[in-house]
Symmetry: C2
Subunit: 343 residues, 2 copies
Amino acid sequence: MKKKKTTIKDIANVLHISAAAVSKALHDDSRISDKTKIAVRQVAENLQYQPNHLASALRSGKSHLVGVIVPRTNSNFFSSVIQNIEEVLNKKGYNIIITQSNESYQKECDSIDTLLYTQVDGIIASMANETVDLSAYEKIKSKGIPLILFDRGENDLNVDYIGIDDYNSSHLIVEHLVNNGCKRIAHIGGYKRTRIFNNRIRGYTDALKKHQLPLDEELLTESGLTIEDGRVKMLELLSLATPPDAVYVAGDHAALGALQVLKEKNIKIPEEIALVGFGNEPFTDMVTPRITSVHQHSVEIGKQAANAFLKYVDRDTIDQQLNKIILDAKLIVRDSSNKKTSL
Amino acid sequence: MKKKKTTIKDIANVLHISAAAVSKALHDDSRISDKTKIAVRQVAENLQYQPNHLASALRSGKSHLVGVIVPRTNSNFFSSVIQNIEEVLNKKGYNIIITQSNESYQKECDSIDTLLYTQVDGIIASMANETVDLSAYEKIKSKGIPLILFDRGENDLNVDYIGIDDYNSSHLIVEHLVNNGCKRIAHIGGYKRTRIFNNRIRGYTDALKKHQLPLDEELLTESGLTIEDGRVKMLELLSLATPPDAVYVAGDHAALGALQVLKEKNIKIPEEIALVGFGNEPFTDMVTPRITSVHQHSVEIGKQAANAFLKYVDRDTIDQQLNKIILDAKLIVRDSSNKKTSL
DNA sequence: TACCTTTGTTTAAACGTTTAAGCAAATATA
DNA sequence: TATATTTGCTTAAACGTTTAAACAAAGGTA
């Protein structure tokens, strides 16, 4: 019942030439006559020939497949990065395999195994939040497969990295809040063990010092930055003896949770408490009040990550010239923190 | 420089046995002694052996890869479907390759070619909005590769399909609006050529008849259902001689656009105009007022789609017993349409 | 004429597996 | 004891390509 697929040999038989000639004709080899090439292409068309990737990849040692690992795809940031990686790589004849870790270390390891097993030519990844053991990533490196990290990276791995300047973003945010008259700025941060969140925390504390604001331990919290985390941490901040007059949340989802709590408590935003998120997810512009956030240049990150990979395949000599690209983030000021225009 | 990878032969050489024995040992073949199996596994571990998918897939004719085509991944619906497809298939030893069509027919065709080229064992797809030419999908069928459609399907293709009951969902919505006292219900619909949107439109008109409401042509519009489309269509409806007192939008993003316009015009929701969306995207629960919407059972759809595929691989005889699974959708009533509880 | 090049092709091996078939040794059966 | 069965392996072919090497024929050069 199952249709058997047309191979290069079937084409060869029709034309009474060798399979090798067909292969070369299809690859436009200069040593094949135009007559033969035209005939081959014609027959290939007629027989609905579909090249077998498995065979060619096995023989040539190049799969032309690139694995992409993201914590999840249902965020605008990751989905946009992926789209741009794909765009750049498709042009160069590469296809991508997307896998989601769902922020799980175990799933991430499985994904890596699958990708290695599938013989991808390279891996572009953003690490799960809970990932601390880097051995799975070391494995990629040890196999000599190009590895590029973006957003959630790790210095210790010593691989290419594309991301935004998290440290400086915190400075931008604090500065913006100070300019809006805030004096007691809290930070609902991510876990310090994740490099980007650590950088945001460092940026936050250093910026406070710079502006000679009190560095109050109870104003700095760590969490997984889910909506629920945002709610819980906001409630905690509100119950302090002296609550903050501004909250900088290291992720938009948690910022949304915080916003919900503030609205439920009828606290005026930004007058009583100003709010800033991170990531510029579309919903920050949809809710009331619209949330100030940081745009992470997903388009640029995607393109740069793809290009970083392409650099590896272009050169045969792997002279490990590391690329660390840090882009400047952009603060998108909206109602939730802008006291000046809301007057 | 490039590390060369360990193969089955390397393991064989170490143990002075044949490659075939190693292959069988790794597959736990009953004809291999436990002693050998243990030894093989040990050496495989030591040499960091990684099976080569290309070789085994080529030889066995089964890639254990399933292609998934979606219009986009940055919607909660598709991302959730994907996650559940993956979950079910992983358990059975399959991995998935995700591709996005970005609602483009051309990109969809490219994706299909890539997937066929990659020798996937099956394809699970949701069609792009603009797709009308089905030849690319016919190609999949003609190669004898299992094809399962979900959400955005096509009856003419005669393949398995999993989706919700769009026609009936419209009835639920209209009924709900009628119960809330609405008498002039508009529909901002998708393009009629897409089956699901056509069904929603049919459901809308039939439900109006059923409740003896006027079927006004100017209250029914078609569009691509982007946020901007929602804005434009809402503005049009407001400029009518007698504007509607309820608007049923066939997609949440367009519903959001409509909501923005209503808020800008200071129109009371739901008192003056009630609003209902479709898809139950997370943001419907985040905005003010929260938008009533239809939950599409993404979890169930993902699982069922994966199982539909698995049915094909389990049986060798392809006795084309078609699965058409239509799930009941669920109306999630929120502030934007609920006049009773908002009193 | 003899030799070199170019053109267009074929041959054969290789990529890393799987698997049908074969076979020797050990064990069971009669 | 002779024969059958089971156990545990080996051999070799195959999957569909690519590619290095070989080579015949045609054309060019000295």
